[in-house]
Amino acid sequence: MLNVMHSNATETRSVYVHVPFCAHRCPYCNFTLIAGRPDLHEAYLDAIELELSRLPDVLEIDTLFFGGGTPTELNCQQLDRLFSIFQKKFQLIDGAEFSIEANPKDITSGLLEVIKRHGVNRVSLGAQSFDNQKLKVLGRDHQAIHIHQAMELLVPKVDSVSLDLIFGTHGESLETWHADLNQAIDLKPQHLSTYGLTYEKGTAYWKSLQSGALELTDEEVERNMYEHAIDHLTGVGFEHYEVSNFARPGFRCVHNQIYWTGKAFHAFGPGAARFVNGVREVNHRSTTKYLNDVLAGKSAVGEREELSPIDRARERLVFGLRRLEGVCIETLEEEVGFTVSEICGNEIDQLESRGLLQNQAGHIKLTRSGLLVSDSIWPRILVPNDG
């Protein structure tokens, strides 16, 4: 079991590292990244080292997560150096979770050797689909075969492997999605994340949507796909533990649950967001700005935000409810120092009476219908009517 937790509310025991590199930018992606610039990799490592050196002591942590971008866009020596930089500063406790995100095509025995040597025990693979046509629509550089090859290497060697899957692409049918789910299950990952495709401003997809070259997937189709994923995956023994996340028992992502339960975490790299001592900071989103500033001895931080206690409590409730197990009212009230009615008036009761939330013995959670429209629920909790 990985979820051995030593944290309390004030201690920061998780670390996120953003690796902003990708071979190219996918047409649906609006993440902080810089495509096709391997020339910046070394400068990035220097900057990360410098940013990290500003922390006072060696700290003990429970989770370490390298996300992107594509961390595996770095070559093996560079990854080796990146991991070493962190291991000098952070002491992973026994049973800690050490994750990296990876692109299927990048999984080689060389890479595997590096990550194993450093103790990576969870790999999240950007599979997206097993349908080559769909992968092409998504602008991915891999095909189904590459996922199979990667899984052959990963599954025997890594404790927990997760696959990311996307649904609701242009012209996709429920059958395509069903096939994707089945092929994923067959590869025996411990964890699955399913994401409905969204059209974000600033992406190539957004422009195509505006110009009419792409059409939004019908809401009903999307709903069927999402519900099908839930029913099918839980039917074969996965636990649906957060809006988009499914895990075999005991394999939930410990690191991500830190976010959703309002706990503290460090973060490094361009665009990385940290939450330490109740303060949220985001590093410069531009990779070049980040590199220039950090290497010139300046702060990496671009934005800073400190929420009032009541707003923190509201946020805590919202992200807590995105976890399917929901929130224990008593625990929450004790933790945040407000009662639920102080947090959001009678919204909870109203949502319950509409069948969107259920309250079982002091434990509130989304119902299925609530889950499906949950983005319409959160605004009501974050800015309650009489608040």
């Binding site: 999307e222 709903r223 949220r280 605004p379």
Partner: protein
């Protein structure tokens, strides 16, 4: 000044035909204002008027002019140029003996010009037609002369041709004013009768009353009485406009000027009222009507806390505009606000704009409605200013609505389009007159309610901008009217009720429901929008419930962004009005104006 050396006249014109420019030129040519002092459109001193290029409030000016060996006093009484101010126009006309009828050398005669010309003729004013902008490249002076001859039965020799902008023909025009307009009649020795034709409020001096003395003399220090409002005051100052206030000791019969009497409220000074002496008052002059508001709407602060601010702003505005009235009202849907009465739709628009400009207040406005009259079964008569006041149909003996006479002047090609427009609105055709081979005047009687909302816009689009219209209220007539209510998820939204013709209710109800369906965002639950008369539902639309609305990715970096996004969505919703947990946007409150005309 001898009566025979006084000329009192006004300028009547369609918007944009150059009235203000001509007035400026007259001031300049008579030496009343030097060229250096000349600001363009000197007489329109409200900022809003300048912005819109139209005259709303009447202004007046006395010009001293040497003609031959004689000195003349020429009093220009400026008139408002919009149909909402018809009554004010008629009072201004009553104060003069002549009128310059200004016609654009390209646009020609417009509906409003005709209406005002007939109005002036009814009051036996001498009319001098003036064709303006004769220096325009596209000027079609000969055709316009023909139109004037045809419409007003006047000869070409009576017509003046000028360019106010270039200063062409102004001297000749002044000659004609002196030669053709008769001097005022009136007896200095009769008891005092002076007509109030305008007023405005000065922060330091109180109400400035504009008068034309008909008979008798008015002096400084005199005790006077406003006969209509039955209030007595002492004249602290009187004088003429030149164009600024120039005090003098007395104004006698035939003269035009102002009075300052330390009056603190414009409500006491009504246009058309008669000023006489406090004791032994004379008979009131004819034609006085208390201000009549034809259009009402609800104004609400867009978020609850601004109620007091809105009230203060309305109070400030009312000081300057006695024709606007307001009283507090409550709506289940909108909370606390005010029912406001206006002379017409333009007046409403102006007040709203001034509120937003001068007071920085965001308003929620309900759909405007006209004033109706009711006779109840028990014999009682009621005026209805808002749909909510309509009682059960069983209690109503007779429901009456205001009917207006509308004159349209349109190019001959568009007669069919205009007739269709009017028939769709239950219009009754009264007359057709050919002004020239290409232009026609069509007269219809229409319910005012059908006119005020969008007829002007519809006319413009049906005639590619060439048609013009003008209307006047001819009275209240019985009609088969009903109140149509709108229900949102079974709950009646009082602010959405409208009064409409029974025969029109089904179509109207369908149009409104359809429009509301477009305006109301989808919710987590189904929203039913229904139109009903009494308990009978006549139309229904359903705003489908959201089927899927869930963000997939939400990790460390997304949390703050998502929270802000969701909070913002909620703030946006707060500017809406929540009725039975359905969020209704402000725009929806105007949706009831959708007459479904496109589907007719």
């Amino acid at each position: 000044m001898n009566l025979k050396n006084i000329r009192n006249f006004c300028i009547i014109a369609h918007i944009d035909h150059g009235k203000s420019t001509l007035a400026d030129r007259l001031l300049e040519y008579t030496g009343t204002v030097t060229k250096r002092e000349m600001k363009e459109q000197l007489l329109d001193d409200m900022e809003l008027e300048r912005e819109r290029g139209i005259t709303i409030k009447a202004r007046t000016v006395s010009m001293q002019y040497k003609h031959g060996n004689e000195s003349y006093e020429l009093n220009l009484i400026d008139t408002p140029g919009h149909v909402d101010f018809q009554y004010e126009v008629s009072r201004s006309l009553a104060c003069g003996e002549g009128a310059l009828l200004l016609v654009d050398a390209f646009q020609g005669i417009e509906a409003q010009t005709v209406a005002n010309a007939y109005n002036a003729m009814d009051q036996e004013l001498h009319i001098i037609p003036v064709i303006n902008k004769i220096d325009l490249t596209h000027a079609r002076v000969d055709e316009i002369v023909e139109e004037i001859e045809q419409t007003l039965m006047m000869g070409e020799d009576e017509i003046q041709k000028v360019s106010a902008k270039a200063g062409l023909g102004i001297d000749e025009l002044l000659d004609a004013v002196i030669g053709a307009i008769p001097p005022p009649e009136g007896d200095v020795d009769e008891p005092l009768q002076a007509m109030v034709f305008d007023s405005h409020y000065d922060e330091y001096r109180g109400v400035i009353t504009y008068v034309r003395v008909m008979n008798g003399t008015i002096k400084k220090g005199q005790k006077i009485r406003f006969i209509g409002t039955e209030s007595n005051h002492e004249v602290l100052e009187l004088g003429q406009f030149a164009p600024q206030q120039r005090p003098c000791d007395e104004l006698h019969a035939g003269q035009v000027g102002y009075l300052i009497c330390n009056i603190k409220s414009l409500e006491l000074v009504n246009i058309g009222d008669t000023v006489s002496t406090a004791n032994n008052s004379a008979e009131p002059l004819e034609g006085y009507q208390p201000p009549k508001r034809m259009v009402y709407c609800g104004l609400y602060p867009s978020d609850g806390q601004d109620f007091k601010e809105l009230r203060d702003a309305l109070e400030r505005l009312a000081i300057n505009d006695p024709s606007f009235e307001f009283e507090p009202e409550t709506s289940d849907a909108l909370g606390f606000g005010f029912r406001c009465g206006f002379l017409g739709l333009l007046h409403m628009e102006i007040v709203q704009q001034r509120l937003e400009q001068e007071s920085d207040i965001d308003l929620v406005q309900t759909a405007p409605n006209v004033t109706y009259e009711l006779t109840l079964r028990n014999g009682e008569t009621k005026e209805i200013h808002r749909p909510q006041e309509v009682p059960d149909s069983g209690d109503i003996e007779e429901f009456r609505q205001p009917i207006v006479k509308v004159n349209f002047v349109v190019p001959a090609d568009y007669i069919g389009a205009v007739m269709k427009l009017c028939q769709d609105r239950r219009g009754v055709q009264k007359a057709t007159e050919y002004l020239s081979p290409t232009r026609t005047m069509i007269t219809y009687e229409l319910p005012l309610a059908e006119v005020i909302y969008d007829l002007h816009d519809k006319l413009k689009s049906a005639t590619r901008g060439y048609g013009t219209m003008d209307y006047e209220v001819i009275g209240y007539f019985p009609a088969d009217l009903v109140r149509m209510d709108i229900l949102v998820n079974g709950k009646k939204v009082d602010a959405l009720s409208v009064i409409c013709d029974r025969n029109d209710a089904d179509r109207r109800g369908r149009a409104v429901c359809k429009k509301l369906k477009e305006e109301i965002d989808r919710h987590m639950f189904e929203v039913a929008v229904q139109a009903a008369i009494g308990s009978r539902v006549i139309a229904r639309e359903t705003v489908r419930a959201l089927r899927k609305n869930v963000t997939a990715k939400c990790y460390g970096g997304d949390i703050s962004r998502k929270r802000k996004l969701w909070a913002k969505q909620r703030e946006g919703k707060k500017r809406m009005k929540s009725i039975g947990s359905v969020d209704i946007p402000q725009k929806a409150f105007m949706a009831v104006l959708d007459t479904g005309a496109e589907k007719r």
